[in-house]
Amino acid sequence: MFEKVLIANRGEIAVRIARACRELGVRTVAVYSTADSESAVVRMADEAVRIGPPASRHSYLNPAAIVEAARQTGAEAIHPGYGFLSEDADFAEVCADNGLVFIGPDPEVVRAFGDKARARTLMRRAGLPLNEGSAEILPSAAAARDVADQVGYPVIIKSVAGGGGRGMAVVWSPSELAGAYARTQLAAQATFGDNRVYLERYLVHARHVEVQVLCDSYGNGVHLGTRDCSAQRRHQKLVEEGPAPGLSPCTLDAIAGAAVRGALAVGYRGAGTFEFLVDDTEAFRFIEANCRIQVEHPVTEMITGIDLVHEQLHIAAGVPLRMRQDEVRLRGAAIECRVNAEDPDRGFAPAPGRLDRFRPPGGPFTRVDTHGYPGYLVGPYYDSLLAKVIVWAPDRDLALDRMERALHEFDIAGPGVRTTIPFLRRILDDAGFRKGRYSTGLVDRLVESPAPPGSGAAQDLPAPQPTN
């Protein structure tokens, strides 16, 4: 195992990684911007290096500063967390060039999955079912039109360099296509410096199911079950759960099997997530893979009892996979709610500020991952995720009741501070969600229907469509 690991991230995931390292006896180096000098991980880590100003591109997105910090402190490996440089193939290469272990897949694998069009090609070769759409990138609006006519509307145009819900546009009719094609190209160029786009059929009521995989450097791979992340707003996840509810065991097995096949086909290493769309008929199609630890990884940890960050570290240190597939036991159900410093009543606008009160929930089968503490100043510079509340129970219904209890307990207050907790409670209250019959359309429906006075109980909401 490594002697010392540098944590190239901030917020709750930096704390999460510091905890895993300490449990394994690995010393930690935190890096931080001048905006984060009071952050929890700086206090927790064995060492901390100030690497830049608040602006991410000069600090948490600055490979030179991070590698220098690793060199100065003698760290052997870098854990990138999620976001920031976690899926930056160039950074992974820079680490290698400087004799640092990048905790993640090889650069070429990261690069391959970073190019959505190439990822589709690779996964098609690996035999994974793909969502109908353009085989390769679209050279012109006309080409886009042809593919759209084949697969049928609505379609979604995606940037090959996109991901995490950015750089995509849904097109409902041929008349909108040319405009959407141009806009997406421009946006992609501006955002990712890469204007290539492709096109897929858009499944309105599809469910977003993902599979957690673990692979070592020796060709071994296992899956750790599924998660359902359909409760999204503008492609941003709010609630995640596992196992994906309401899907037949054989469908779940088929999806999980496909994910491992895809991972091994490209020589994947470490913890990764393969995302699929599943329609009403339980037909599933690969959409993309994530080469990082994900925000929602605790859902899988609570169901399997496996510490994913521990396994990332062991694998990166060259240890063969420590479990066989038949040793992975899925138990009960887990749910994660993302508590963001946002105001649901004002279009989820960021609502940062000083936390006068911050009392996370506790008690049985309740986990909180957060960098927040009483007196912490939630700044405007970074994403608004403040805490993750994860609960486990023998079955999904009890898990939902437990989450309701946990969110009820969560006491966050400060001038200007608002959180997504009230909206999360509406999701939990929704009849469709409780039945496990929901899709990516759920949150939009709740956003459109105003919260009933005294908080939205399921029966106050329009009865969901069966397909919903």
Binding site: R357, A413, T419, I421, P422, P453, G454, S455
Partner: protein, 175 residues
């Protein structure tokens, strides 16, 4: 939209506000209504006392800090019972007064038995050892004495009402 995750905090506050008012405001209680939707405490007294409606606004997720502004029910002018209690100042009846409190959780009775005349009435002069009421707990009648000499300003709890430990029962003016 109210913040649902703090409903119980709100209830607790309402209950607390109600308790405070009942302690502060003279007059025999008739009924207490504690709501939640828009967080309302409604307290009704007997006789000429008006009810005091206390809308407890709950700004953001700050239940325990819920401010209480009392306004008279119906009449904009307010009244001796509601308004002063609401804005925290001592009500007339309570000025310099002393409260005989309940020694236990139980049921308060003003009279030795149904139909009998009450132990004390407003205006009575009482000695320290004078029985001013009884609190029944577990079928035992526990006599409550005045504890000090004084004049009965008010009986704060209605006959047969449940009382908490330490709850004010009788308001006395030192003699």
């Amino acid at each position: 939209m109210s913040t649902p995750e703090y409903d119980n905090g709100v209830l607790a506050d309402l209950r607390q506000q109600a308790r405070l008012l009942v302690g502060e405001v003279a007059g025999p209680l008739r009924r207490i209504q504690i709501s939640r939707g828009d967080a309302v405490v409604e307290i009704e007294w007997h006789g000429e006392h008006n009810g005091a409606r206390v809308p407890a606004g709950v700004p953001g997720p700050v239940p325990r800090a819920a401010p209480v502004a009392a306004t008279a029910a119906g009449t904009p002018a307010g009244n001796a019972a509601g308004t002063p209690a609401g804005n925290g100042s001592e009500p007339e009846a309570g000025a310099g007064s002393y409260s005989v409190v309940s020694p236990m959780v139980g049921t308060f009775y003003r009279a030795p038995e149904p139909g009998a005349s009450p132990f004390v009435a407003v205006g009575d002069l009482v000695e320290p050892d004078r029985v001013v009421g009884v609190v029944e707990a577990m079928k035992l009648m526990n006599e409550v004495t005045a504890g000090r000499a004084g004049r009965v300003l008010d009986v704060l709890v209605d006959d047969g009402q449940p009382v908490e430990f330490g709850q004010a029962l009788i308001a006395l003016a030192p003699a």
